[in-house]
């Protein structure tokens, strides 16, 4: 399942972070991800989103993720 593998990638990239993955349409390719992590502390929104994009680079590149919505938050 794509949802589980996306969650695994995010958990690996943001250890100890609070991860949410929502299959928005039920079709397994439109996702809303939420990540709350200390890795974002002090970073701008674009830097935060770049970290999430980097963590999900493989499924973004191969088309597993057709659409990605990102919400990030630091812990500071």
């Amino acid at each position: 399942m794509a949802t589980a593998s996306i969650r695994a990638l995010l958990e690996q990239a943001f250890p100890g972070g609070e991860i949410g993955v929502d299959d928005r349409t039920g079709g397994g390719d439109h996702f809303q991800v939420t990540v709350v992590s200390s890795a974002f502390d002090g970073l701008s929104l674009i830097e935060q989103h770049k970290l999430v994009n980097a963590a999900l680079a493989a499924p973004l590149a191969d088309g597993t993720i057709h659409e990605l919505r990102i919400r990030t938050k630091g812990t500071a």
Binding site: I46, H49, N53, E67, L68, I70, R71
Partner: protein, 122 residues
């Protein structure tokens, strides 16, 4: 004729606000492209929209330049500010309007234009 990459770079460097979308402002082909356009419009931006759908090379070259994998992509004065989520978040927080005020002045004109790239034959 200049390459697609050169044309993209030129648009990013010269347009005050450039947004790369799927479809056109009149007929956005994707909900996220629409969200970015609406947020920019509500912030009173002079929007220059570029449709990435006519040729897959546009998106490839754009993402290679910007290091941002998804569409839409919003640039203000040559700087990538993000996709639909960040643009909406910045609208809600007031940061988008503040950024536009700072980059372009508060007296800016609210416009929407479409820019077509000249596509070299593959």
């Amino acid at each position: 004729m200049t390459t697609i990459s050169e044309q993209i770079k030129h648009v990013i460097d010269t347009e005050p606000v450039a947004v790369f979308i799927k479809g056109t402002p009149d007929a956005p082909a994707c909900g996220n492209s629409l969200r970015a356009l609406q947020a920019l419009w509500q912030a009173g931006a002079p929007i220059a929209a570029i449709d990435i759908l006519p040729d897959p090379r546009i998106r490839q070259e754009l993402s290679a330049l910007s290091e941002w994998p998804t569409i839409p992509q919003v640039f203000v004065k040559g700087e990538l500010i993000g996709g639909a989520d960040i643009t909406e978040e910045m609208l809600a927080s007031g940061d988008l309007r503040a950024k536009l005020d700072e980059a372009l002045g508060a007296e800016r004109e609210q416009t929407v234009r479409t820019i077509e790239l000249a596509l070299p034959t593959p």
